[in-house]
């Protein structure tokens, strides 16, 4: 890590700072926003920009260390993009259903 070239270190550092801020803000939504339906929007920030930035930073750093392109972080992106809608959809559906039942009872 000590001999990380500048071309990798500089953008990676910036990306990491962005990722940290965005993710924290996204998770803050869980604390600050008033109800479930609004809160669910927060983590999406971490899922997208937060994860994406870290992954790019990781790719930069790995490639720099391995002295060849290391791209497998792309897979993480792929899997998150594919899997997070499933969770979110079902969770929203569940919340709506449970709110409905609660209102009816």
């Amino acid at each position: 890590m000590n001999d990380l070239p500048l071309w990798a270190a500089a953008p990676a550092a910036v990306l990491l700072v962005i990722a940290g801020v965005v993710t924290l803000v996204g998770s803050l939504a869980l604390v600050r926003l008033p109800d479930f339906f609004t809160r669910i929007h927060g983590p999406a920030m971490g899922n997208t920009v937060g994860t994406g930035s870290v992954l790019i930073a990781s790719m930069l750093v790995s490639s720099a260390i391995a002295s060849r392109p290391v791209l497998h972080e792309l897979l993480i992106t792929l899997f998150i993009v594919m899997s997070s809608p499933v969770t979110a959809m079902l969770l929203m559906q569940a919340a709506r259903y449970r709110n409905k039942v609660k209102g009816r009872d």
């Binding site: 990676a12 700072v17 940290g20 604390v31 899997s83 969770l91 569940a94």
Partner: protein, 93 residues
């Protein structure tokens, strides 16, 4: 520059852990089950990011696998939980 990078890593990691704490707050607080599930899901993603940071910090590829596993299957638990909330059982006939 490397020092700045180190600080960035440290900063990001701190942010992720703080984010995890936010998620934990919701996890404990609820009030509804779906809030907790959402919090757990967030906790998983933030945990994955923390892992990636460990990977960047150490320069080891080993952490990538863990992160990938969370990305690929962290959702299975959340889906199961959501499905349970929604349908009363995880696997229907």
């Amino acid at each position: 520059m490397n020092e700045a990078f180190t600080y960035a890593v440290w900063f990001a990691q701190t942010c992720f852990v703080l984010a995890m704490m936010c998620a934990t707050f919701r996890l404990l607080r609820g009030p509804a089950a779906q809030d907790r599930v959402l919090a757990l899901d967030t906790l998983y993603i933030n945990g994955m990011l923390t892992l990636l940071m460990l990977g960047i910090r150490s320069g080891s590829q080993a952490y990538f696998d863990m992160a990938m596993l969370i990305a690929l299957f962290g959702f299975a638990g959340s889906v199961a939980l959501a499905k349970f909330l929604l349908r009363g059982e995880v696997i229907e006939p």
